[in-house]
Point group: C2
Chain length 111, copies 2
Amino acid sequence: MNRMKTIATLASCPPLLEGRLGHAEAEQLATALKVLAEPARLRLLSLIQGQPDGEACVCHLTEPLGLSQPTVSHHLKVLLQAGLVEREQRGSWAFFRVRPEPLEALRSALG
Amino acid sequence: MNRMKTIATLASCPPLLEGRLGHAEAEQLATALKVLAEPARLRLLSLIQGQPDGEACVCHLTEPLGLSQPTVSHHLKVLLQAGLVEREQRGSWAFFRVRPEPLEALRSALG
DNA sequence: CGGCGAGATCGACGGCGGTCGATACGATCA
DNA sequence: TGATCGTATCGACCGCCGTCGATCTCGCCG
């Protein structure tokens, strides 16, 4: 934490305007981005979205991802809590579907 | 890794089409997102961008961020290597400026 | 040349999170 | 009801990274 000592220092290095992004907003945006900043979760979204009917159950996601079933389940939970996918139980299978709205919100938050 | 046992299982859970996002692409996109998925770096970008002339030196970023100078320097290095900011040395001060292009590229990669 | 100030680098520490095997749970079916 | 399958949860391990104090480098100035 430097205190300014001379006028010359002040002149060549003017004080900053406070940025628009506050602590809480930065934290919130970062949290949202952390969910996507993970190869496994990106591939999950891509895999689910790429289905002919736009949905997939866990058992068909583990093999193309090359990850164990608990790990896939963990990532899906993270995506679910972030609102990036929705879950529907049908029989003993859990089907997941991509929700495009939060992705769109994130895109606009970066602009 | 489950092998399918019955026709019923196959019918209710059809095999996945391979998603568009390959391993390498997912890794690359995730790496880029990780740079932004950090409150300190988001606030850095916002602070620099919010300057009247759109640039800032390190000494004026540590205090509004509430982080030590080495930490700020570290984050700026990460942003620099990601191409999100550019650096210009003027005298003994290092001035940083936001480069909007990679942000735009990231936005389009999410769409 | 000597001192100072801006900034980068280094080394260490601590916490977060991705991963897996083991296990629990619930639904289906013989 | 017992067996089996699909998923979720748990506990542990481990690597990554944000953070800081100490130190190094370098440009400026007296």
